[in-house]
């Protein structure tokens, strides 16, 4: 049971959340008209063994999207912050 420390709601079980996607890929700007940046954003992944930045949605809580650091080998949890406050 992954336990996520939601900055709004506190430590909660993963069952309240929905896993979103890789947060290390950046959505191109709306006016980006070349295909490659969109292909990279939508399809291609680093898929790291180890630390991974990823989006989780607190769908059964405060409905905030979070950026969570999590280790894909050990399931260790790192920092968790609101996506809207995430600098990267």
């Amino acid at each position: 049971m992954i336990r996520i420390n939601c900055p709004i709601c506190g430590l909660r079980s993963e069952t309240e959340f929905t896993y979103g996607e890789d947060a290390s890929v950046t959505r191109p700007a709306m006016d980006e008209s070349a295909a490659q940046p969109w292909l990279d954003y939508v399809f291609n992944r680093d898929n790291p063994r180890g630390w991974h930045r990823e989006y989780w949605h607190h769908a059964q809580g405060c409905r905030q999207w979070l950026v969570l650091e999590r280790n894909t080998l050990t399931h260790e949890i790192g920092t968790c912050r609101l996506a809207r406050e995430d600098a990267a």
Binding site: I8, C9, G10, R12, S13, T15, E16, A59, Q60, G61, C62, R63, Q64, L82, R84
Partner: protein, 190 residues
């Protein structure tokens, strides 16, 4: 005024159910006096202020502690969102800086109380319900049978659960089912 019909009207039969003896749990249903969401952006503090003042509140509050004023309950549900139970019409506060939304028909309130209420709650939500953790006046947003609800601890053994009306029967059934071994008194809807 046309009466607001509870989504649990067909579900609730007052009486005594489950294990015999004194009821460990009292279940009931209350129609909200009115429910409003306000939402803003980076200047939410400022934008929300007139609403808070009108309702007799002073601050946005924390994400854990509910606020009370005369006839008003307030919950800070997100950095830029609050929810109020109030009979007052907040539409006039709607502006470019503050989005006001009427959710008065969107939720119904299931009341859960009694000496075993905390145990029943521990069976249906994945959050610690111990008395030293979930104290009177505190609230939380969580999933109950996969339904997003707001649980407000209103007393040492008393809780109010705000449930989306279309899911209300399922949530009621699950609470009822989980309370059976303790004996349930079901109250007339208020």
């Amino acid at each position: 005024m046309v009466e607001v019909r509870s989504p649990l009207r067909e579900r609730i039969t007052p009486g005594q159910f489950g294990a015999p003896g004194d009821a460990g749990v009292v279940l009931g249903n209350r129609t909200l006096a009115g429910l409003w969401q306000i939402a803003g952006w980076s200047d939410f503090d400022e934008a929300a202020d007139p609403v808070l003042q009108a309702l007799g509140l002073t601050a946005l509050g924390s994400y854990r502690q509910a606020q009370q004023a005369a006839g008003v309950r307030a919950w800070r549900t997100a950095p830029d969102r609050m929810l109020f139970e109030t009979p007052q019409d907040l539409t006039p506060f709607n502006s470019a800086a503050l989005a006001v939304l009427d959710l008065g028909h969107a939720r119904t309130c299931i009341t859960l109380s009694g000496p075993i209420a905390r145990d029943v709650l521990a069976q249906v939500i994945a959050v610690d319900t111990a008395p030293d953790v979930l104290k009177p006046g505190m609230f939380l947003q969580t999933g109950l049978h996969s339904v997003a609800v707001l649980v407000h601890c209103t007393g040492p053994d008393a809780f109010e659960i705000l449930v989306p009306v279309t899911w209300a029967e399922s949530v009621w059934d699950i609470l009822f089912e989980n309370a059976l071994p303790y004996g349930i008194a079901v109250r007339e809807a208020a």
